[in-house]
């Protein structure tokens, strides 16, 4: 077995160990690797900056514990941004875990620290089952679909914030942080097409590709794709958090992936070349 053949057959546990080191090492001793603010995070930031005062935003955390690490930084940063503005925020989830995910994020971006009052400036309406049908129902009848709030179990209509919110057109923007279905396609079909309500989407890395046609056609106004842009967004709003803390580990783990691709391919070609020579 030549050295090139050996290089193509590294023990899988060594690969796993190196993958662990590539993440743990930069987290234990941060390297302060550079970071550049990209176009997507800037677009998201600018879009949220231009929301007029008094707007009503529907914030929808449509993800579960499995993608919490990837989506929490952008959720927290977006909430910081929203709380810092004079807008009203209504939180509704179409994923069962959504209400808990929001509460986790709310613990890190506390609305009360921005002077926001529950029931007046923001409200949690909990979970609506049945995905896209639930989105449709919410659009047609907000108070009927979410009859009581999630926190106090009080009738939704009793809250100040809900006085003028009855149907989808009462919202100026939907922010959907999501990791799958129901998600952007449901918003596009049930809200954007029917009521012309604008929406922006924060998503996991694996979903980026599928969103692009909707971004290009202008159906999705802005896209926050994954952890790296979340870190950039944290810089933009000057609230460094878990995203920034992750950037060194992202870079190092990606270096490792690149290194393995190079090792595998170089060894493959050299062993093929060696084989030809021997032949």
């Amino acid at each position: 077995m030549s050295i090139f053949d050996k290089l193509q057959d590294i023990d899988i546990r060594i690969i796993y160990l190196l993958a662990m080191i590539s993440v743990f090492y930069p987290l234990i001793s941060p390297m302060g690797l550079p970071i550049k603010i990209g176009a997507q995070s800037t677009k998201w930031y600018n879009y949220l900056n231009t929301i007029p005062d008094g707007s009503v935003v529907l914030f929808s955390p449509n993800f579960g514990a499995s993608s919490l690490s990837e989506l929490l930084p952008m959720t927290v940063a977006t909430l910081h941004h929203l709380w810092s503005k004079n807008v009203k925020v209504v939180v509704v989830a179409f994923w069962a875990d959504g209400p808990i995910m929001f509460r986790t994020a709310k613990g890190l971006a506390v609305p009360e620290s921005y002077g926001k009052v529950y029931g007046k400036d923001y409200i949690e309406l909990g979970f609506v089952p049945n995905g896209e049908t639930g989105m449709n129902n919410l659009g047609k009848d907000v108070l009927g679909t979410c009859s009581v709030d999630y926190v106090n179990n009080r009738p939704t209509r009793d809250y100040d914030i809900m006085k003028n919110i009855k149907v989808a057109t009462d919202f100026n923007l939907v922010i959907s942080i999501e990791s799958g279905t129901p998600g952007f396609d449901g918003w596009a079909r049930q809200w954007e097409t029917v009521y012309k309500v604008k929406f922006i989407v924060g998503c996991v890395g694996v979903s980026i590709g599928g969103m692009q046609p909707y971004v290009n056609s202008g159906q999705i106004q802005a896209l926050m794709p994954g952890l790296s842009p979340s870190a950039e967004y944290e810089l933009l709003i000057k609230k460094p958090g878990l995203g920034i803390a992750s950037t060194d580990a992202i870079t190092m783990s990606h270096y490792l992936v690149i290194a393995f691709v190079i090792i595998g391919n170089v060894a493959y070609f050299l062993s093929k070349l060696g084989g030809k020579k021997d032949g």
Partner: protein
């Protein structure tokens, strides 16, 4: 009577009526019909929420049988059953009895159990992906070379330090995103739309019955 109720035409009829009820008022608006469609959709949400115990019952069937037969590793089935049933009970929406999704013990189990396990489970894919990349990502021909090239350039872009040092990766990633990725996914989106329409028409005509299969008849 029972043979009449068993007729496949009943669920097909229900499907057609429910489907048309949602579609017709959108194109031919008539307020009473639209209101009725809205109420039907809300009503259907209740039906879907009622299905919540299906998973738990299936789990009890499979793992209960394991325990009963003392199959290999039956004690793990006991653990599964205890966790499922206790989590379901703790989550019952009875805040007056200290239960429900906002109760201390529900959040305790959720944050320390569900969050830890879900994240750990999916993060395992990072390891499998790395070893998969190393073993299978080979430029054996032009097509695999294209996958590899596009993949590795995107990986370079996604590493914050790489793109900060070599900004041209952002331009390359922009091209990949805006040309082949957009084209591929636009074609898929259009194809999926056509597929959805065809599937709906087939279902409305009663030709598509795949979803009604099972049960042995």
């Amino acid at each position: 009577m029972s043979s009449l109720l068993k007729r496949i035409e009943i669920p097909i009829f229900l499907t057609i009526v429910c489907c048309l009820l949602q579609v017709v008022p959108y194109y031919f608006y008539w307020k009473p019909l639209d209101d009725f469609a809205t109420r039907e959709a809300q009503w259907m949400n209740l039906i879907v929420a009622t299905a919540t115990f299906i998973g738990l019952i299936s789990l009890v069937q499979v793992h209960g049988a394991n325990v009963q037969k003392r199959s290999k590793g039956w004690y793990f089935s006991v653990v599964t059953l205890v966790c499922a049933v206790s989590f379901a009970i703790i989550g019952l929406p009875l805040p007056e009895y200290g239960l429900g999704s906002l109760s201390y013990w529900y959040l305790f189990l959720y944050n320390n159990g569900q969050v830890a396990l879900s994240q750990a489970q999916f993060s395992l894919l990072a390891f499998f992906m790395t070893s998969g990349v190393y073993r299978a990502f080979r430029a054996r021909n032009l097509e695999s070379g294209l996958v590899l090239g596009a993949g590795i350039l995107t990986v370079c872009y996604n590493a914050p330090a790489i793109v900060a040092t070599y900004p041209f990766f952002a331009d390359i990633r922009g091209l990949l995103n805006d040309i082949p990725n957009l084209a591929l996914n636009r074609a898929v989106t259009i194809g999926a739309a056509l597929g959805a329409i065809i599937l709906a028409v087939r279902t409305l005509l009663g030709i598509e019955r795949g979803y009604l299969r099972g049960g042995g008849d």
